[in-house]
């Protein structure tokens, strides 16, 4: 199992077990992480699963697709350097132990 820590804007934390190959959004939603609403169920259409990744993870993933890029500009919380839509991020074993920030409470 891959364990990922989600941190809220108020500093509260949640450890989430994520499955290899599923999306980061699914892992967060399965654990009831606040701020990961994911209205569109992973279609990159609603911008309600915004997360901020650690720089090295963000860099490793490569650039988001054009559609996600566009959508991130319209997420509720302002976009940051390492912002992604968590539905577009696939969980891999090398993510074990990373810290992901949720910018919208």
């Amino acid at each position: 199992m891959i364990t990922i820590k989600f941190i809220q804007p108020d500093g509260s934390e949640k450890l989430v077990s994520a499955m290899n190959g599923r999306s980061l959004m699914e892992a967060a939603q399965g654990a009831g992480v606040v701020g990961i609403v994911a209205e569109c169920g992973g279609s990159a259409a609603c911008a309600t699963c915004h997360v901020v990744l650690p720089q090295e993870v963000f860099d490793r993933l490569g650039a988001p697709e054009e559609h996600e890029e566009d959508m991130l500009d319209f997420a509720d919380a302002p976009r940051q350097t390492c912002s992604r839509l968590s539905c577009q991020v696939r969980v891999t074993p090398d993510m074990d132990g990373i810290i992901v920030r949720v910018p919208t409470a």
């Binding site: 609403v37 209205e39 569109c40 169920g41 992973g42 279609s43 259409a45 609603c46 911008a47 309600t48 054009e66 559609h67 566009d70 959508m71 500009d73 319209f74």
Partner: protein, 396 residues
């Protein structure tokens, strides 16, 4: 009517008429929510799911609750389309239209295009001092905006409105009235002809339009026909009704209106509240691909259920005093744009056009806008619901 229910017998509401649903479905939804997770509404001959969390859970499981129903009137009359597909087939066509409906495209491209349309539409009646905003404002703006976004250079808003009506009548024609079927097939042909007329231009000079995006992504002619019909069926009524509900909600609540007019950032929550309050699409169907236990009721494979997002958007205590328009209620997600893979593709276009262009311009141009008489406003429908008449006056 709602007496003790034997185990596994689905509760039913049998004492309301179709007209009751059309006039005001919300008291009926409230009863249904109290009765159980799935309730038979006899007047509509439909099993309705009305609770918020149930609908969200269903939409997270498209393999069980399919959008694909080859027997539906929509597919039979208008052909296959992305709204009635699941999985990869759906994703492929959805991706094809993304460049047109992205929030960035709406901001950069459709917002400015709409500025001119709204100016022309308002200029035509602004000296009159009174109007019914359904006919004078919302219908022409919504129809002209849709024609531009689809890429129909030569289609009037009146034609869009007539097509939309013909499609809705055909889709809802459960009694099989041959006249309605014939009209729906005629509309279907007319839309295909309009696609055929406009595509050569867009092949030569691609732009941001829906037709152009579908052509660029290599969808087949049949796929382009089907999805263009969905855009006409789902891209005209809904923004029209959302515009009217937003204006109506604010005119009913002058204190809220003043606050919104003083801070343009508040147009966004005001719009979300309008579509929660009167959801333009109140209900849509799903088909069971296997036997399913819904709260103790075993529904067999092949059962069609209706998801009532209108009911979910009035669920208490999630929404306090849900029948009231309140742009300042605490931020709670609603289901007016659906949820899951079929989350409304036009959401961002609607949001940006209404909150950045239409609503601000209406209140800026029509001074001291107010309802002519609150009793004259009519709101109707349940599958599709919105103000059907919004008579207003303003200072000239």
């Amino acid at each position: 009517m709602e007496s003790t229910i034997p185990r596994n017998e689905i509760p039913a509401i049998i004492d309301v008429s179709f007209e009751d649903l059309m006039r005001d479905p919300y008291p009926i939804y409230k009863r249904a929510q109290a009765l159980g997770p799935v309730v038979r509404i006899e007047a509509a001959n439909l099993l309705l799911v009305t609770r918020f969390e149930d609908i969200v859970a269903i939409e997270r499981d498209p393999a069980t609750f399919s959008s694909d129903n080859p027997e539906s009137n929509v597919v039979k009359l208008f052909g296959p389309n992305l709204m009635r597909k699941d999985g990869e087939a759906h994703q492929r066509e959805r991706k094809a239209i993304e460049p047109t409906v992205r929030p960035g495209t709406a901001t950069r491209c459709w917002g400015p295009a709409l500025e001119g349309i709204v100016d022309e539409v308002i200029s035509a009646f602004e000296r009159d001092g009174e109007a019914d905003l359904f006919d004078a404002l919302a219908a022409p703006i919504s129809g002209r905006a849709l024609a531009a976004i689809v890429g129909f250079e030569d289609v009037s808003w009146q034609t869009i409105a007539a097509w939309s009506q013909g499609m809705m009548d055909g889709a809802g024609n459960y009694s099989g009235d041959p006249k309605l079927t014939a009209r729906a097939l005629e509309v279907s042909r007319e839309i295909e002809e309009a696609v055929d007329r406009n595509c050569p231009r867009l092949l030569d000079a691609p732009d941001e339009s829906l037709l152009s995006s579908m052509l660029q992504s290599g969808l087949s002619t049949k796929e382009i026909y089907g999805n263009t019909k969905v855009a006409v069926g789902g891209g005209y009524n809904e923004p029209r009704d959302a515009i009217l509900s937003l204006i109506y909600g604010l005119l009913l609540n002058p204190d809220q209106k003043e606050k919104v007019l003083a801070n343009p950032a508040l147009w966004q929550p005001a719009f979300e509240e309008a579509v929660r309050w009167i959801s333009p699409i109140g209900m849509y169907p799903r088909l069971l691909t296997r036997d399913v236990d819904l709260g103790g009721h075993i529904l067999p494979k092949g059962t069609q259920i209706g998801l009532s997002v209108a009911a979910a958007n009035h669920e208490e205590p999630r929404f306090e005093a849900p029948q009231e328009y309140n742009a300042f209620r605490s931020k709670t997600p609603h289901l007016a744009f659906g949820s899951g893979p079929h989350f409304c593709a036009g959401t961002w276009v609607a949001r940006i056009m209404v909150t950045k262009v239409v609503a601000p311009q209406v209140f800026a141009r029509l001074a001291n806008l107010r309802l002519k008489n609150p009793d004259l406003v009519t709101v109707r429908g349940w599958v599709f619901r919105g103000p059907t008449s919004l008579p207003v006056v303003w200072d000239v």
